[in-house]
C-alpha cells in the first residue's frame, strides 16, 4: 500500500481542537482510513477527549463513546459482548470493529488492569495506545511511558526510571496481535491496522506520538522527530503474531544493515525535554547510558539476523 492509495474518505473531520502538529490527530486519520466506517470507537480520557472538539460538535465521524480514564479494556468487553448479541439477533449483519483509543497514561498506568483483564479474556477488539510519553493532556507530567532522563513538569531534572514496555507485556499475555507503529512510517501503520482488522481477539497497537508542546520542539517537526526516534533506535517498529516477532520498516532496515543506527544524541538534541543533557554542560554519563541500552539491543538483533541468514544458507544450500 502506497500513501496515494489510501482511501480518500476522511472519518477524522476538519475542525478538531488539536494543537498544531498534533500526532494524535494524524494517527487517528490513518487508523480510521484503514478501519473504515464499520467501527465503534471508545475514547479513553486523554488528549483525544479534547481534540475531538467539545459538545455539541465533533471531529470524529464514527459512533463514539467517551469513557473514564481506567476503563479501556473493560468498556471494550461490554461493547464487544453487546455487538455479539446484536449480530446474533440480526441487528448487525457483521460485527463492527471495536476500537479503543487511549493515551499512554490511560494505558501504562491507570488503565493497565482493565487492559490486562480484556487481554486475558481475549476480548475481540483493537486497543490503540498513542504514546506521547507523558500526561500531555494535563500539561506534561511523567507517565510509565516517559523515557529515562526526560524532563516533565514533575521530573524537572529528568526522569530517574526507565519506561516499562507495555507492548512486550501484551506479548506476554499471548494475544493474537501486537504491533508498534510510528507516524513517520504511515504506510507501515496503515498496513498494521488493516491487518489487525482481519484478526479476531485482542489486538494491541502502540503508536509513538511525539508531542510538540510537551517535548518542546517546533510543531512542524512532529514527523521528523518520529523518524529520528526510529532511526536512533529509541522507538522500534515490529509486529508480533503466532509467537513470532517481525521487525518492520525503518527498524527492519537497521537490523538488516541497509541503513545505519543513528547516534541517540541526534534524537535527544531535537527536543527541549532533553536540553538538560546538553547544557549548561554535557551529561556524558546519562547519554552513554541511553546509547548503551540501545546499542546492546541492536547488536543482539543484528547478530541474530546474521546468524539466521547464515543458518538459512546452510539449510538451503543444494547437496553436492
Amino acid at each position: 500500500m502506497r500513501l496515494r492509495d489510501f482511501p480518500e474518505e476522511e472519518l477524522f473531520l476538519q475542525g478538531s481542537a488539536a494543537c498544531q502538529g498534533c500526532p494524535g490527530s494524524a494517527a487517528l486519520r490513518v487508523a480510521f482510513k484503514a478501519l473504515g466506517r464499520e467501527t465503534i470507537l471508545c475514547v479513553i480520557a486523554s488528549c483525544t477527549s479534547v481534540l475531538q472538539s467539545p459538545f455539541p460538535v465533533s471531529a470524529l465521524n464514527l459512533p463514539t463513546l467517551n469513557m473514564a480514564f481506567a476503563t479501556g479494556g473493560a468498556t471494550a468487553s461490554g461493547l464487544s459482548a453487546a455487538a455479539d448479541r446484536l449480530v446474533a439477533s440480526g441487528a448487525f449483519k457483521e460485527k463492527p470493529t471495536i476500537l479503543v483509543w487511549a493515551g499512554d497514561g490511560g494505558t501504562y498506568d491507570i488503565g493497565i488492569q482493565a487492559l490486562s483483564g480484556a487481554a486475558e479474556r481475549n476480548t475481540d477488539f483493537i486497543y490503540v495506545c498513542y504514546n506521547n510519553e507523558a500526561y500531555s493532556n494535563t500539561g506534561t507530567q511523567r507517565s510509565g511511558a516517559t523515557p529515562y532522563a526526560a524532563w516533565t513538569t514533575n521530573t524537572t531534572k529528568g526522569k530517574d526510571e526507565w519506561r516499562k514496555d507495555i507492548a512486550q507485556i501484551m506479548v506476554a499475555h499471548g494475544v493474537p496481535y501486537v504491533a508498534t507503529a510510528s507516524l513517520a512510517y504511515p504506510t507501515d501503520m496503515y498496513r498494521k491496522f488493516a491487518k489487525a482488522k482481519e484478526i479476531k481477539g485482542t489486538r494491541y497497537i502502540e503508536i509513538q506520538a511525539p508531542c510538540p508542546p510537551g517535548w518542546k520542539f517546533p510543531s512542524s517537526h512532529t514527523i521528523k522527530v518520529a523518524r529520528l526516534a526510529v532511526q536512533s533506535g529509541m522507538w522500534m517498529l515490529y509486529e508480533h503474531e503466532g509467537g513470532k516477532t517481525a521487525y518492520t520498516a525503518g527498524t527492519q532496515r537497521i537490523i538488516q544493515g541497509q541503513s545505519k543506527l543513528l547516534p541517540v544524541e541526534e534524537y535527544l538534541q531535537a527536543q527541549g525535554r532533553f536540553r538538560h543533557l546538553f547544557s549548561p554542560e554535557k551529561d556524558e554519563m546519562r547519554i552513554a547510558e541511553i546509547q548503551g541500552r540501545i546499542s546492546h539491543i541492536f547488536d543482539t538483533l543484528q547478530f541474530t539476523h546474521k546468524m539466521k541468514e547464515h543458518i538459512m544458507d546452510i539449510e538451503l544450500a543444494p547437496p553436492r
Partner: protein
Amino acid sequence: MRLVDTGNHVAAWGARLARVEVVSAYPITPQTQVIEEISRFIDEGEMDCEYIPVESEHSAMAAMIGSAAMGVRSFSATSAHGLAYMHELLHWAAGIRLPMVMVNVNRALGPGWNIWCDHQDTLAARDTGWIQLYCASHQEVLDTVIQAFRISEDLKVILPVMVCYDAIFISHSYMQVEVPDQDKVDRFLPPFRSLWKLDLDYPLTHGSVIYPDDYEEVRFSMFKGLDNARKVIERAAEEYRDIVGDFHGGMVETYRTEDADCALVAMGSMASECKMAVEELRDKGYRCGLVRVRSYRPFPIAELRELLSPMRSVMVIDRSVSFGLEGALFSEVKAAIYGHGDATVYNLITGLGGRDVRYDLIAEKTADALEGKLAPESSWPSLRLNEHHLVSKRGLEGYWKKEGVL
C-alpha cells in the same frame, strides 16, 4: 412456580426473567451467589446471555456502560467495597443517561472487615444520579429487579436503577417465593429500546467535553429524570400487580398508619422487624404505624408529607450514619416534612455491621420517645461500648470515663 431459595438466587431469577442479555460482574461476599446462579443458568442453557467475568468492579460497571451503550439490556450485581470501587462509573452511567439495573447487597464497609448488613454503602452512592429501591423480602427482590428495568428504560427517566437488599438477612436466608411465568413478565416488560445508542448509521459522539454553557442543563435533565421517576415507580408497581399479581408498595409501603398518631420510618428488612414493633406498641396502647421507604432516590417527599403530617411523633430508624451529622434517613425525613404538621422526629441509629436489632428494642425506645424519655436527636440504642473499643486505651479511657461513655 414456587421456589424456596436465597435472596441472591432470587435476584438472579429476576435478571433471567427480565431477559437480560449482558451481565458483567466481579464476585464479592455477600453478592457472589447472584452471579454464580446467573452463570449456571447460562451454562445450562436456561438463560441466553453473555457473561463477562471482569477483573474488578470498576471494570464491571465500565463493561456494563459499554453494553448498554450498544443498546443491549445489561445487569450487574455488587456490594459494599465493590460499589465503592465503581463509584466513579456510577456517575458516568447516570450522567451519560444509560438504562441498566444493578443489585447491591447492602453490606458494611471496612475497616474492620464486616460482611454483614448495613446501608452505608448505598447511602454513600446516594448522589450519583442512580434510582435506589430498597427491598424488604425475597419476593420483593425478584419483583423489583423486573420492575427496575421497566423504570430505568422509561423514556421519561432513562437512568440506571440500583436494587438494594440486606446482606445475610435477605441475601443468604432461604424464603419461599413465587416465580412469575415468563409470558407475564414479557407482557409487563417490553424489549429494550434505548433513547440513544452507538449507531453506525448515525455516528454521534457521546460524553465529550462540555463547557459551563451546557453542563448545568445536562444536570438539570438528570434531576428531572429522577423527579419523573416518582410516577413511573408507582405506575410500574401497579401494572406489575395487575399483570403478575405481587405488590410491595410504590414509593413507600405503609402498615397500620390509617389511625396512627405515631409512625416508624425505616428501609429494607428492618421494616419487617418494625411491623412486629408496631404490634407490640399497639398492644401497649400506643397507636403506631409503619412507613417503609421503598424508593430512597427519588425520595418520597409528597408521600411522607401526607402520611406524617397528622402524626404526633415520628421515629426514624437508620441503618447507617452520616458522620458529623446524624442518621441520613432522619435528616431527609425531617427535611421532607418541615412545615407540614408538627410531629416530633426521633432517630435510632442501630443495626450497623449486621448487629441484630429486635422488635422489642425498637418498641421500647419508641415508647420512651412517646413518654418524653428520649431526646429528639440521634441515639444509638444497641451500643455496648467497653474498653476493647477504645482507639487508644491510654489516651481515651480517662476521657471516655469522665464523659460517662464507659
